[in-house]
Amino acid sequence: MDLATVWFIAIAVLWTGYFILEGFDFGVGILLPVLGRRDVDRRVMINAIGPIWDGNEVWVITAGGAMFAAFPAWYATAFSGFYLPLLLILLALIVRGVAFEYRGKGDTDRWRAWWDRAIFWGSALPAFLWGLVFANIVRGMPVDGDEILRAGVIDLLNPYALLGGLTTLSLFILHGALFLTLKTGQPVRSRARTAALRTACVAVPAGAVFLVWTQLAHGKTWTWPVVAVAAAALVAGVALALRGSEGRSFACTAATIGLASVTLFGSLFPAVLPSTLDPAFDLTVANASSAPYTLTVMSWVAAVFLPVVMGYQAWSYWVFRKRVTREHIEPVPAYGGGDGQDQAPAPAE
């Protein structure tokens, strides 16, 4: 296997990790106004992802950096070509990140309501748009002979890509709801279970149709079993959620998202951005990649540090493994007109 292919796989791994990890914290953000009827419940939800969302988000920064380094042409063409969706994603990630940090630092309902909106839209937009963008990449875009992608908004909004967006949106909500069943106390926990089952009514058909469509239109022979297992994991996840098996159902949606991502990248290979104008204009693993020396250097860096990163991220998940409950987040008398929330005890062991 040549180094460019190795790096295609590495970038697929980074995006897949991103979708699995940030997928659930997007889901939690989207469910915030639905499940968090009282402020204390919204805080339970936010604190359940509080220590880890930032680390999850670095996966996308690393994926972007790796594309830049390993496939400059792919990075350049795709990032400039998907200008508007990426602009929206950036705005969403900005307000969302600030919202998590700032929401608890004011003390009026209006203040918190604004940040709640920021968290909702900041989660919902990327959850939909990443699906839209990646479906369009797999479907192919009007890339010309100079490797320039000139597409209007209309080009992005085809049925396949819209279904892709709906699939990531609904899968992430389902994934986030199951995360909440696993990580929060009552009443959020049971509400999240109900929400998961309701979301499944959209996520299962959308996911199944999108996967099969991807397979039929763009898939390889070897992606058939991947699609089958992804669909099976999705159904199993819902069934386990019905039975109240929280950890396993969450593992199943993680597997579904991971395998769906594998399906997309597998269908793409060996192209990285197919052209709808002329197959000769396709950006491929071979023509978009960096030279072997850069790829070798990057391989060593990734081989040494990616396991280290995964190790300490896993440890941080372990440290914050306990459920967050209402009791952990009690209203505390305010100090001198300030917000008393900072004095609230943390979700303790």
């Binding site: 604190n47 830049f68 400059p72 320039i148 000139r150 030279a291 990734a302 943390a346």
Partner: protein, 483 residues
């Protein structure tokens, strides 16, 4: 108006804005970690209160640095696709390393620090803030190595087949003299800024307490420990600034010498130095005609520029007119290009950077003298100066980047790629105008929100964040920060 112009404005605005927060993150992470170390070692409650108080201000600032940083990475691909295509092989590597080695470290351990107060053993928890601080400073190295490469490209060749750069030595890119020299300069400037932040907040609190005898509301006694706490942090902030000031001067001098060697046009523009000269004088005030390339008024100190640029008083310093001629011949394939950056901006940003930056260092030196042996000045001007030094330092940081980036023009990669050839060909004027508008608006709103929060937490003081312990109470049970 072209997409190119707006893309440059957007890069300028988003980068300058990002860099309001970054220096504070770089310096405050280490200062907060040091305060927590002091608490860990002595067990004294005031250090814990200082850690939590400045830690809160640090986090308010940190969030802004993180979210505005994502824009920077995406922006290369979105607005500067031809640049990205040309340099990705070389420039992408330090960026990817930054994410993998530094950002993961920073963001994972900051999460552990924020939420881990009562869940981790104290030593482990302390290690978390140090790891976050290391990640932050490490990220500065990688991004500055990438930036240094644009000014002094090393360790690469241009592939004649596809016209892209190719990396030949990662060691050369990471050990680029411009990289480590810039790193020292930027990081020491960051410590000046963060030291002044701590000093300014402390001075403000001490002044308020002196005037009102309280921490914000008239008639309420301030917690007894506050005075002592802020006296200490005032001095600590000033010590950090003073030490960093020494490094900033040393590295700044080194930067000038490197510029003379690798970017002579930048140095000449920063000095409004038109003709090549031996024993060149340092200009202190100049008014010139940039079209005809002469200064009409120029008040100078003889031979000082030669000394600063070359280390000898009669060394040769190249002038802009000669460099323009030289570049026109050397890069004839680009046609008629003006290789002289905006001299007015270069000249004044250079001087104001030095002035604003050293103002804070001088205030700190003076402040340390005035506060020796537990003294505190009574005069109001001292407190005003300490507070004013912070915006001055932030301005100096920005002017430093204006100098660096505008001084590299018309190149994105010196001698290799013109800015005019770097922009995304497929992105329309309307798209860039839209993104420039929304970024500017949202950044403006967030600036107001952030400033408001900082103000609120500074006014609230340490008691707002962590209560005074009751008599005999164990101070070890520390409540965590919770969203």
């Amino acid at each position: 108006m072209e997409a190119l112009d707006l893309a440059r404005w957007q890069f300028g605005i988003t980068t300058v804005y990002h860099f309001l927060f970054v220096p504070l993150t770089i310096g405050l992470s280490v200062i907060v970690a040091s305060l927590q170390t002091a608490w860990y070692r002595t067990g004294r409650h005031e250090y814990l209160r200082a850690t939590k108080f400045f830690g809160k201000l640090f986090l308010i600032n940190f969030a802004m640095g993180v979210v505005t940083g994502i824009v920077q990475e995406f922006q290369f691909g979105m607005n500067w696709s031809e640049y990205s295509r040309f340099v990705g092989d070389v420039f992408g590597a330090p960026l990817a390393m930054e994410a993998l080695l530094a950002f993961f470290l920073e963001s994972t351990f900051i999460g552990l620090w924020i939420f881990g107060w009562d869940r981790l053993p104290r030593g482990v928890h302390l290690a978390c803030i140090w790891l976050a601080a290391i990640g932050t400073n490490l990220s500065a190295y990688f991004i500055l190595a990438a930036n240094a490469w644009m000014r002094h490209p090393v360790g690469f060749t241009v592939n004649p087949e596809n016209g892209r750069t190719e990396l030949t030595s990662i060691g050369a890119v990471l050990a680029n003299p411009q990289a480590w020299s810039t790193f020292l300069h930027v990081v020491s400037a960051a410590f000046i800024t963060a030291g002044l932040f701590v000093a300014a907040v402390s001075a403000f609190k001490l002044w308020r307490a002196r005037r009102h005898g309280d921490t914000g509301e008239k008639g309420v006694e301030p917690p007894a420990g506050d005075h002592e706490l802020f006296r200490k942090t005032l001095r600590a902030g000033m010590v950090v600034t003073l030490l960093a000031g020494i490094v900033v001067v040393y590295s700044g001098d080194h930067q000038a010498k490197l510029a003379a060697e690798y970017e002579p046009m930048k140095l000449a523009a920063a000095e409004a130095h038109w003709e090549t000269e031996e024993g060149a004088p340092f200009s202190t005030f100049a008014v010139g005609d940039t079209d005809s390339g002469v200064n009409t008024i120029d008040i100078t100190i003889p031979r000082v520029l030669s000394f600063l640029a070359t280390g000898t008083i009669d060394g040769t310093v190249q002038g802009m007119n000669d460099l323009q001629e030289q570049y026109e011949q050397e890069y004839a394939e680009y046609g008629d290009v003006d290789y002289i950056p905006n001299v007015f901006i270069m000249y004044w940003s250079f001087r104001l950077m030095i002035g604003f930056g050293l103002f804070g260092v001088a205030v700190s030196a003076l402040g340390l003298w005035l506060t020796r042996k537990r003294r505190l000045p009574r005069t109001r001007w001292f407190y005003y100066a300490a507070v004013a030094a912070l915006p001055a330092a932030l301005t100096a940081n920005i002017l430093g980047w204006v100098l660096t980036e505008m001084g590299r023009q018309p190149w994105t990669v010196h001698g290799q790629l013109l800015t005019a050839h770097s922009v995304s060909p497929g992105v329309s004027l309307g798209q860039v105008a839209l993104s420039l508008t929304v970024f500017t608006l949202i950044y403006g709103v967030l600036a107001v929100v952030e400033a408001g929060l900082l103000w609120r937490y500074v006014k609230g003081g340490p008691s707002h964040v962590v209560p005074e312990p009751e008599e005999g109470e164990d101070t070890g049970d520390v409540p965590a920060f919770v969203y």
